[in-house]
């Protein structure tokens, strides 16, 4: 039976380093290629040796697909393609292609320059890797080769994130990557059509959580900013990509307007330079409704938000500054941080995950004494807050996606099997599908029953539907026809049609059997006797006594002949076509048993 095999090389039951191998109809696809941010050694990479012990990866894999730019989904890509060795195509959406190299380069810099690691990919490797990337649009069917095709769907989550459908013939798998089902201010919700894949692979990091509403998180953010500013403090918000920063700007602007606040809000120039580029990327990625919001509000024409100058950092009094980079590992945000860290009235709000080795990561872990260049110790007295705005699907979201796509089976990655039994049962009971939760390195094999489409001739359809009762749309209807497989096409036609096409004449095969009956009476009396006997025994069949003296059982003809040697024996001719073989034989043996004695 055809099968689909899935092996998580990373993710599985481990958060971090998503990397999943899928085999479908002889094609091998790698889904994501992430780095595990918690490890410093080789454990941070997925175990690629699993794929093929000998033999080149390029020959084995048909393609690699990257769902979005987060490092736990693409961080190991340059290592994989340039150091392990892969030259085949790598697919991702346009924004992902634009942003990935920047994040990878940042990451490389931190790891090599800050932490002094040597076994790591180089800048050139990142560039070479990106040359292998083929960018795709949403809902665009991309032919990887003449059998394998892929299609990207909107996933929400972050700019450029996509869910991918991988299809070979009538078998398909959908991989969600990270997604979320509730829209936020600058990204819509994930959406997929009722594509009915054989398997849906979904992340389930947040499946066992119930998320606080977006508005309450925003409220928390505003409250923190407000409290700091009220007591005269300065607030630093390190940001990376435009999307999230834009959202926070709009939020602050609205709030400042409402509350009639006077403290200045700035964004740093680094942000503006990249801004136009991202803006264009971003504006084509979002939907109509969100696009309108952003067009109405021209990005940097905020009333209360102005461009930052590094000299402003020394100004007295409260202020809020958005600055890059997001993990405080270099540049402007780090400079400002150093100036403000010593004052407990100030606050830094970290917007998300920080890579190990960055100042951001250190302060989020609780470190309050940092070693800077030149052995200088920086004492951090400012308040450190963490704001998680990243959007992931929770249990409700997963159920919604499954409902939309209608897969035949579900596979969950990123979760811990023991802690997901409830979710597994919930999915299985609600949708009547199997739910799998493989560990790293564990292969799940699914057997599929692909549908083979067959063209049916109109004549056959008409004929079959004319026989019998009105067809019940919910019940399968048995039809008889001839299947013609010719030149890669399948056609179902009536036997007559098939014979005609083949240029053959239809032959009828008819059997006739002689049955001797002991009966001295006249012929027609004996026939009547036979008729009554058969009528009594064969209650489920149509038994007719025809005017010419013969008996018809269904389509089998029974006739008496006059040819017999003696008067006491009569001969019955039982005649049937090949199609009625079974009934014919049965009738014959029945008659050979003899007739019941007549009643007086």
């Amino acid at each position: 039976m055809p099968e689909i095999k899935v092996t998580p090389l990373g993710a599985g039951q481990d958060v971090g380093r998503s990397c999943i191998l899928v085999s479908i109809a002889g094609k091998n696809v790698m889904l994501d290629c992430g780095m595990h941010m918690g490890y410093n050694d080789d454990r941070r990479f997925p175990d690629f040796s699993y794929i093929t012990q000998n033999g080149r990866l390029t020959d084995f894999l048909d393609c690699v697909i990257i769902s979005h730019f987060h490092l736990d989904h693409c961080g190991a890509l340059p290592y994989f393609s340039e150091m392990v060795g892969y030259d085949g195509p790598i697919y991702m959406t346009h924004p992902t292609k634009a942003i990935c190299p920047i994040l990878l380069e940042d990451y490389r810099k931190i790891t090599v320059d800050k932490k002094g690691e040597t076994n790591f990919f180089t800048s050139q490797m990142i560039k070479d890797c990106m040359k292998k990337v083929v960018a795709v649009h949403l809902h665009q069917t991309v032919q990887v080769d003449d059998e394998l095709e892929i299609k990207a769907y909107y996933a929400g989550h972050v700019l450029g994130a996509a869910m991918f459908q991988i299809k070979v013939g009538s078998e398909s798998v959908v991989y969600t990557g990270d997604y979320n089902m509730t829209p936020d201010r600058h990204l819509g919700a994930a959406w997929i059509d009722k594509c009915r894949p054989d398997l849906l692979i979904s992340e389930s990091t947040y499946a066992t959580t119930i998320r606080d509403s977006k508005r309450c998180r925003e409220r928390d953010f505003l409250k923190k900013v407000h409290e700091s500013v009220e007591r005269g403090g300065k607030v630093l918000i390190p940001v990376f990509a435009l999307g999230r920063a834009q959202e926070l700007c709009i939020l602050l602007e609205t709030f400042w307007e409402r509350m009639n606040l006077k403290a200045p809000i700035y964004f740093s120039m680094g942000l503006t330079e990249k801004a136009n580029h991202y803006y264009k990327l971003f504006i084509t990625w979002t939907n109509q409704k969100i696009r309108k919001t952003f067009v109405q509000r021209n990005m940097f024409e905020f009333k209360h938000i102005k461009a930052f100058d590094r000299a402003f950092a020394d100004n007295p009094g409260p202020m809020v500054v958005f600055a890059t980079p997001g993990m405080l590992h270099a540049g402007q945000s780090l400079q400002i941080f150093r100036k403000w860290a010593g004052n407990e009235k100030n606050m830094v709000i970290m917007p998300g995950y920080c890579v190990q080795g960055t100042v951001g990561h250190k302060i989020l872990s609780g470190q309050r004494k940092l070693e800077m260049e030149g052995r200088q110790i920086l004492e951090v007295k400012m308040q450190v807050e963490y704001m998680s705005f990243s959007a992931h699907a929770d249990a409700k979201g997963i159920m919604q996606l499954i409902r939309q796509a209608e897969p035949r089976s579900v596979l969950l990655v990123h979760g811990e099997a023991k802690k997901m039994e409830f979710l597994k049962q919930k999915i299985e009971q609600e949708f009547h599908v199997n739910c799998y939760m493989p560990a790293n390195g564990e292969t799940i094999t699914l057997f599929t029953s692909p549908n083979i489409p067959v063209d049916i001739s109109l004549g056959l359809l008409k004929r079959e539907s004319a026989i019998g009762l009105v067809p019940d749309s919910k019940k399968p209807k048995l039809m008889h026809g001839t299947l013609i497989m010719k030149d890669n096409s399948f056609r179902l036609v009536s036997p007559e049609q098939a014979l005609k096409e083949l240029g053959l004449g239809e032959h009828q095969l008819r059997f006739t059997c002689r049955v001797h009956i002991q009966d001295p009476r006249k012929e027609h009396e004996m026939v009547l006797r036979v008729y009554n006997h058969l009528k009594g025994v064969l209650k489920d069949y149509s038994v007719q006594h025809l005017p010419d003296g013969s008996i018809m059982v269904e389509s089998i003809l029974i006739q008496a002949t006059a040819q017999s040697e003696d008067q006491g024996t009569k001969v019955l001719l039982v005649s049937w076509t090949y199609q009625d073989e079974e009934l014919g034989s049965y009738l014959t043996s029945l008659l050979k048993k003899g007739l019941p004695p007549t009643t007086a």
């Binding site: 066992t208 508005r215 409700k396 039994e421």
Partner: protein
């Protein structure tokens, strides 16, 4: 609800609340039961489909006592979940055990659930306790305690109130009473004393050590007639301030009365809630005492709000009392619920944070809120 007024309320909430969390459950719940001090249980009450019972771990920030660096996540974690074929109308945890008891239509039997299991996060139904009550009677109210063994107090009418040992299913107490009035709330005051509140407002007290003892027959003061009642009992009744009244009763017309445990037939104080319309039934009426704030009550079930009253500041005349705080989040937080007006189904106080409550509504919302002390609602 227009997005703009939701935004307005959110901005207002900055000064009204110290902390505010808004969650959306897949199915609405009418129970919130604490399991220890870190998690709560909620459960669905749909008639026509399978319901879920969930044990939710609070966001870390809401259960840590020492100031713990950063607690980034603001989310509930579904620690465990189970499936119930019937709607869950009442859910109680047996303290210091991993047992839950639930009740609900279509009959008066009780379901016992097992929370803890090492290798799975599924809450399993361990057993069913048949109560021998006529299934046509209203569903069973329950209360639980850990005496020598886990016990459940249950009944739908005063004359069928019993205490059953959960593991053995043995009846260890039966109310010898001729009163057939419907019960709205049942509580263990301690493991030997039980208190029942009838729908007509009557309170019945009994000592379990005298099996077959009749439930205290208290006559109904004039103030209570004509409406449907439920009660809330002060949690630290034994050993608490002797002067503090311990039993609050709430009527469907919005009447609140306070009664001292030592003399349950006497009304100590009463007031009327500030509600615009009477509740048609006691279905979701809920009144409870604050565990920390002296003399404070929370009231809900009339509409989409939860009111906090300070009983110490009630007018002597017994007229309308002004709430100390009114939580309007279920109406104003802008959840997309198809335009209906949600009804608060239940609420519960946080065990040690003075002004924090959890409240749930008929649209599936679940809020955790901590109102700011110095600010009163306009």
């Amino acid at each position: 609800m227009a997005a703009e007024s939701a935004e307005d309320w959110l901005l207002e909430s900055l000064r009204l609340y110290n902390d505010l969390h808004v969650f959306e459950l897949q199915e609405p719940t009418r129970v919130i039961e604490w399991i220890g001090e870190k998690s709560v249980c909620v459960a669905g009450y749909e008639n026509s489909r399978r319901n879920e019972i969930l044990q939710l771990l609070l966001p870390q920030k809401l259960y840590v006592k020492e100031k713990q660096g950063l607690c980034p996540e603001r989310d509930f974690k579904v620690e465990r979940g189970g499936f119930s074929d019937r709607p869950v109308y009442s859910l109680r945890h047996v303290p210091d055990t991993s047992l839950l008891v639930t009740s609900g239509p279509p009959d008066s039997s009780l379901q016992v659930w097992q929370l803890a299991a090492e290798d799975t996060d599924v809450i399993k139904c361990a057993s069913t306790i048949p109560t021998g009550n006529d299934s046509k009677k209203p569903w069973t109210k329950i209360a639980t305690t850990l005496a020598r063994t886990p016990c459940v107090l249950h009944g739908s009418r005063v004359n069928n109130v019993q205490i059953t040992e959960i593991e053995s299913k043995k009846n260890i107490y039966t109310a010898a009473s001729s009163i057939s009035d419907e019960v709205s709330s049942l509580e263990f005051l301690d493991c030997n004393t039980l208190l029942a509140c009838c729908v007509n407002g009557q309170l019945c007290l009994a000592d379990v050590r005298q099996p077959q003892s009749p439930l205290g027959d208290a006559s109904i003061p004039w103030a209570l007639s004509g409406e449907q009642w439920c009660m809330g009992v002060s949690p630290g009744v034994q050993g608490s301030d002797v002067n503090a009244p311990a039993i609050a009763r709430l009527s469907s017309g919005g009447q609140l009365t306070l009664t001292d445990l030592r003399n349950i037939s006497k009304l100590l104080k009463s007031a009327r809630c500030k509600v615009s319309a009477a509740s048609p039934s006691t279905e979701f009426l809920c009144v409870s005492w604050a565990p920390v704030l002296d003399g404070c009550l929370a009231v809900s079930g009339f509409n989409g709000t939860v009111h906090i009253y300070d009983t110490r500041s009630w007018p002597v005349s017994g007229g309308e009392a002004e709430p100390l705080f009114s939580h309007k989040g279920h109406i104003l937080s802008g959840m997309d619920n198809g335009g209906g007006f949600p009804l608060v189904t239940t609420h519960a106080w946080h065990p040690w944070k003075p002004r924090m409550l959890l409240s749930a509504a008929s649209d599936g919302s679940l809020h955790v809120w901590d109102w700011a002390e110095s600010h009163k609602n306009s």
